[in-house]
């Protein structure tokens, strides 16, 4: 069954077209990675998919979208706002609902942030914030997951474990990815976006590290280096991303 179907569509934002005449079909059950240089239109495509059926999608945006003053609990809870009555939702701000407390605590345990559940999120590190944002998406309890580099602030091993668990809890997933190793290990279809269109759209099993290197050499490499540090604006200590991640960083350096 086709969940999303784009036919010869042009997408963009702020009056500027980023992707021209793209066609794409996404079926239920697929686990898709979107790859490509920064600014190629991955986020644009993801947001377009989100807008097609926003109420059936668990979204994990790139700027994590957390509300600073609220606790991690409340930030996760708001993913399930539609499952409680408006009055209960208001009351929950004053006194957390017993049932939601248990459920959210379980999500937090799974993400490894149980100890930070009652801290306001402005006190959390970049990695912890990403876990909270993932927690909200999980608590949406939808069949479709859309994520924009949801584990970029975590080290590759932890990122892999978390993403694995997120993918297993959603029937369909479309995720913007940076790390080729993770991409090849966790997804079954890879869509590469570059130069205003879709460069390739192939099963992950047919791809190798080499294809990624080619992709990034073909794409606009100049700004890739700067944006290859997604953690910088999230206040994560640099120790989390060094030693250098394999893959894209490396390919940059080889340039």
């Amino acid at each position: 069954m086709a969940l999303f179907s784009l036919q010869q569509q042009s997408l963009g934002y702020a009056g500027r077209i980023v992707l021209r005449d793209i066609s794409l079909t996404i079926r239920a059950g697929e686990k898709i990675a979107l790859v490509g240089p920064s600014g190629a239109g991955k986020s644009t495509l993801l947001h377009h998919l989100h807008q097609l059926q926003p109420d059936q999608i668990a979204l994990c945006p790139q700027a994590d979208g957390l509300v600073e003053l609220l606790s991690a609990y409340h930030n996760i809870f708001m993913g399930g706002l539609d499952r409680v009555s408006p009055l209960a939702a208001m009351w929950n701000l004053i006194r957390p609902l017993a049932q939601a407390r248990q459920q959210v605590a379980q999500v937090a345990r799974q993400l490894g942030i149980e100890a930070q559940l009652w801290q306001s999120v402005d006190r959390l590190s970049g990695g912890q914030r990403q876990r909270v944002a993932l927690g909200r998406a999980l608590y949406r309890q939808q069949a479709i997951f859309l994520g924009d580099e949801p584990v970029s602030a975590l080290d590759p091993l932890q990122g892999k474990l978390l993403l694995e668990s997120v993918l297993s809890q959603h029937q369909t997933a479309v995720v913007c990815m940076h790390n080729p190793e993770l991409t090849l290990a966790l997804f079954d279809r890879v869509i590469a976006v570059a130069n205003g269109g879709i460069l390739f759209d192939r099963p992950a099993s047919e791809l190798s590290q080499h294809d990624f290197d080619a992709l990034y050499q073909g794409g606009s490499m100049t700004d890739e280096h700067a944006s290859n540090q997604p953690t910088a604006d999230q206040g994560l200590p640099t120790s989390c991303i060094s030693p250098a991640q394999p893959g894209f960083n490396q390919s940059n350096r080889e340039q």
């Binding site: 979208g65 509300v67 944002a133």
Partner: protein, 506 residues
């Protein structure tokens, strides 16, 4: 040449644009000068001034209990009004995208507290209900607009990852906590304004500070009047020490207990009669079309026009004088200009200037100079000059502290004032001035209550003569004028300051 300078794309120099704006202010004031009534009519102003001055330095009060009660009731009205109007404003701000809500908010805030009080007094008499409603009705309008603007500025990303839910619930979880610090800060600022509003409601008879102040002045008891004033200034200066979030529930209970006992009772029949009959002219109710036209024409070309003209003339003069006073006093509270020794007395002066309500100052000047527009112009300029001077000094101080780490090569004294500090602060200063323009206009209409022939004078007289139809129409004219000026001042602010200055509105 001026219009060309005022449209931004035509100018190549920001300095020239600002100079042009200030030139326009001078021009407007010069045009107004011959028409405004600014005579000094008092016989011996200096003697009176000496007595008031003596009173100011020898404050005293025979009956401390009544002083405490007057202050307590002033705080009670302000606190309860803000406690009710801020949440109402927040609720209305959630519906600000709906045009009837925007219109209603604009209408509520375009009528001054005193006029609301005069209206409600006809229905509920001199009662707690009247005082409370008079403050909370216009304040709800103000809160609605400012809160809606603040919420609109928030980042939208958090909302994207939420499931469908009521806007109220979604915003309770996202935009309201996101915007909480500025919302609270504005509410706190508004509470200070409400204290002043509450105090001046005494001038029309409610048992707040203004009532005792007017009585003391009328009896020539200047020491008592001074005591009230000093107590009020101390109350405002110490807000941040006594207004603790945890104590607010306790304060609210005390406030309810402190309110005057007269709750104000009116039978619903009278309320309906007031709305459906009393405020409309007789020929209109009788269906006499040409009579209605005559009635409106007579009012609009007579009292409304006279009042409007004086209101505009006086506020234009007050606006220029405010600018001059700001330029004069802001250095006194700016540490890099006057050094630490004058800094503290300078700050005290600005505090006195901004926390004395315009109405009280105008009243004193009326005693000194006799009835004319001059007392109004002076009072408005001093109060607003103090307020804007305080904001400018605060901004300069913040920049000073930030720059202290890096040594700067700068001139000193008058050169520093005229070459560095004033040009640097001018855009923000003008933006704040135009924010206050609206307030100055509203206030100059209100000062008519004291006998200066602005719109407020005719409105007050109409209420005294029980001509509600006339009073209603004149209030409507005042409200429309306020909305017009609101629009024009927003346009001027955009000209003076490319980036919005968000503080100091109100």
């Amino acid at each position: 040449m001026l219009p060309a300078l005022l449209t931004r794309q035509e100018t190549h120099s920001s300095a020239r644009r600002l100079t042009a704006i200030i030139g326009l202010l001078w021009l407007a004031a010069l045009v107004c000068l011959p028409w405004a009534d600014l005579d000094i009519r008092a016989t011996e102003p200096l003697d009176e001034l000496a007595r008031i001055g003596w009173g100011l330095i020898t404050p005293g009060w025979d009956d401390p209990a009544s002083l405490v009660q007057a202050l307590g009731q002033t705080v009670a009205f302000a606190l309860l009004a803000v406690a009710i109007s801020a949440p109402l404003g927040l609720l209305a701000a959630l519906m600000f995208h709906w045009w009837p809500v925007r219109l209603l908010a604009a209408a509520l805030r375009s009528v001054h507290e005193i006029f609301w009080a005069l209206i409600f007094m006809q229905i509920w008499g001199l009662s707690a209900t009247t005082g409370l409603l008079a403050i909370l009705v216009p304040y709800t309008g103000v809160f609605t607009k400012v809160f809606a603007e603040t919420l609109a500025l928030q980042n939208r990303t958090p909302e994207q990852s939420l499931p469908p839910a009521w806007r109220l619930i979604r915003w309770l979880y996202t935009r309201i906590p996101q915007a909480l610090p500025p919302l609270l800060q504005y509410t706190r600022y508004r509470f200070e304004c409400a204290l002043r509003s509450s105090a001046i409601l005494g001038f029309i008879g409610l048992p707040t500070l203004g009532f005792h102040l007017e009585t003391a002045f009328k009896q020539g008891q200047y020491s008592e009047a001074a005591m009230l004033l000093w107590a009020f200034v101390a109350l405002i200066a110490s807000i941040r020490y006594w207004l603790r979030p945890k104590l607010i529930p306790v304060y609210l209970l005390i406030a309810i207990w402190l309110l005057p006992e007269t709750i104000g009772f009116s039978n619903p029949g009278y309320l309906w009669q007031f709305i459906s009959q009393d405020i409309w002219p007789a020929p209109l109710l009788a269906g006499d079309l040409s009579g209605t036209f005559d009635w409106y024409w007579k009012l609009l070309s007579g009292q409304a026009w006279q009042g409007l003209l004086q209101t505009l003339l006086l506020s234009q003069l007050a606006l220029l004088l405010t600018l001059l006073i700001v330029l004069l006093v802001y250095p006194l509270a700016t540490r890099r200009l006057v050094g630490p020794k004058i800094w503290w007395p300078g700050r005290l002066l600005l505090l006195l200037m901004r926390s004395t309500p315009e109405m009280v100052m105008a009243y004193v000047f009326l005693l000194l100079l006799g009835p004319s527009g001059l007392p109004a112009v002076l009072a408005l300029a001093i109060h607003n000059g103090g307020l804007i001077g305080f904001l400018v000094a605060g901004k300069s101080e913040m920049e000073y502290q930030r720059q202290q780490q890096q040594p700067l090569q700068e001139p000193s004294g008058l050169l520093l004032y005229s070459y560095v500090e004033t040009p640097r602060q001018l855009p923000a200063l003008l933006a704040w001035l135009f924010y206050r323009w609206e307030v100055i206009l509203r206030e100059s209409a209100i000062l008519g209550i004291l006998g200066i022939t602005t719109l407020g004078f005719y409105i007050d007289s109409a209420f005294e003569e029980i001509r509600y139809d006339r009073a209603f129409m004149l209030i409507l004219v005042t409200a429309l004028l306020n909305m017009l000026v609101d629009g024009v001042s927003r346009w001027l602010r955009r000209l003076a300051e490319p980036q919005a200055v968000s503080a100091g509105r109100g």
